[in-house]
């Protein structure tokens, strides 16, 4: 029932048994259950569109399934999946087959019930994050959703540590300024 790939152990190459096929499937399902939600969130904040995020996550896991034997250290699974997703996201610009939606028109889905003031503030923050340049947005998402350290982010994005720190500083700084500006506009309009 499972893909029969030869396994290399040291210098030996052997045919996997049916038991290894099952454990490969279970290993994959464990990865999906553990990381699909975080990967979806990462994809959404990267591409600003729910349906593209869904496609990206599906495609990422299909590629992960094919390359599962290359994942040697389970502790690196999350960063490995994010690397696949980032490559997949880059490919969509090469293919140009996705229908892009103007982010201004995207309705923010929010199932959490908030009071009107909280909801407005959250929507403002949501929009402010989407307005960030992707160079600033990406390390911020990796840090907050992914829980990665700045050194790990530098490695994943192939940047030096100082650049990552600068981008994180500017991302948070821009968000704060944007929110303050919005709040001032609201209070100005109400007086």
């Amino acid at each position: 029932m499972f893909n029969i790939k030869k396994i290399t152990i040291g210098k030996k190459t052997v045919e996997p048994t049916v038991y290894e096929g099952v454990s490969r499937q279970k290993r994959f399902e464990t990865l999906v259950k553990a990381y699909s939600n975080d990967l979806y969130r990462f994809a959404y904040w990267l591409c600003s569109n729910h349906s593209i995020a869904d496609d990206l996550v599906q495609e990422t896991f299909l590629r992960a399934w094919k390359a599962l034997d290359k994942l040697e250290d389970e502790k690196k699974a999350k960063s490995w999946l994010i690397t696949i997703l980032r490559r997949e996201n880059a490919r969509r610009f090469e293919r140009k087959s996705f229908d892009l939606v103007d982010i201004e028109e995207v309705v923010v889905e929010d199932k959490i019930s908030l009071n009107p003031e909280q909801s407005l503030q959250k929507q403002q923050l949501h929009q402010a994050i989407l307005d960030l340049d992707v160079d600033y947005r990406e390390p911020l998402i990796l840090q907050t959703i992914g829980g990665f350290k700045t050194s790990e982010i530098a490695q994943m994005l192939n940047l030096n540590l100082n650049t990552v720190n600068t981008r994180l500083f500017r991302a948070r700084d821009q968000l704060r300024h944007k929110l303050c500006k919005d709040l001032n506009q609201i209070s100005g309009a109400s007086t």
Binding site: L125, T144, R172
Partner: protein, 244 residues
Amino acid sequence: MDDLEFRKSAVIDPGNQDSEFLEKTRQSRNNRRFIKEQLSFNQELLDTLALSTPENLTDRIILAQQLSQHKTRHKIKQLKKRQRQWRNWLGGSIAASIIMAFSINLIWPEPLNSALLAQKVINHFHEDTHALNVHMNVPKTSIDTMLASYGGKLNGPIGQVSYLGHCIIGEHTGIHMVLRTSRGIVTVLLLPAQPINGPSLLNDSQISGILYPSQKGSIAILSEQPEAIDQTRQQINQTLNWII
């Protein structure tokens, strides 16, 4: 670490656990207040970023992976078929008939003697008794996903499923389910890769059941309550379809 450096570090990573950074935080009330503000903003950010994800995302991913496997296998089969046709054309009718006979044997494995499989099923049941003690409320979507990987489909509910997993009987995999029916706990083993030549009773001192040929492979139903077996068999026959 000077004040400017401290404030910059606090903005970049307010959860920084570096000892120098923590020491600087402790040094003044202003520093502590600044860190508190940064952490509060960070939490706000996290709340916004952690948006809700689509329902059944994991099930859909697993289903897509299993369907892609089917497609790959189908492509390999097609390729092998074309290669066989080419060889047949070259090798003439005698070679063709040998290859065809061989390939037919590959695609439709010889039905097993049901008594042999029956013994393997009983052994598996006793090896896997932990499944009876699992109390998961398995959603139908999970059953659909796993069934789809074997080319199966459920047309309706099959009742409360408390365990669902892959199982290995002999050299083939199948689906192991435990159902909590009104008449008792029933174990169902779907063995789509194991066709048999006829039905066989499954009996030992602890368990009874039946193993019977299905549209694809065979199905085993076991229970300590014999009256639960027939009811489950009817339900499985009504709802389960093999589409591939």
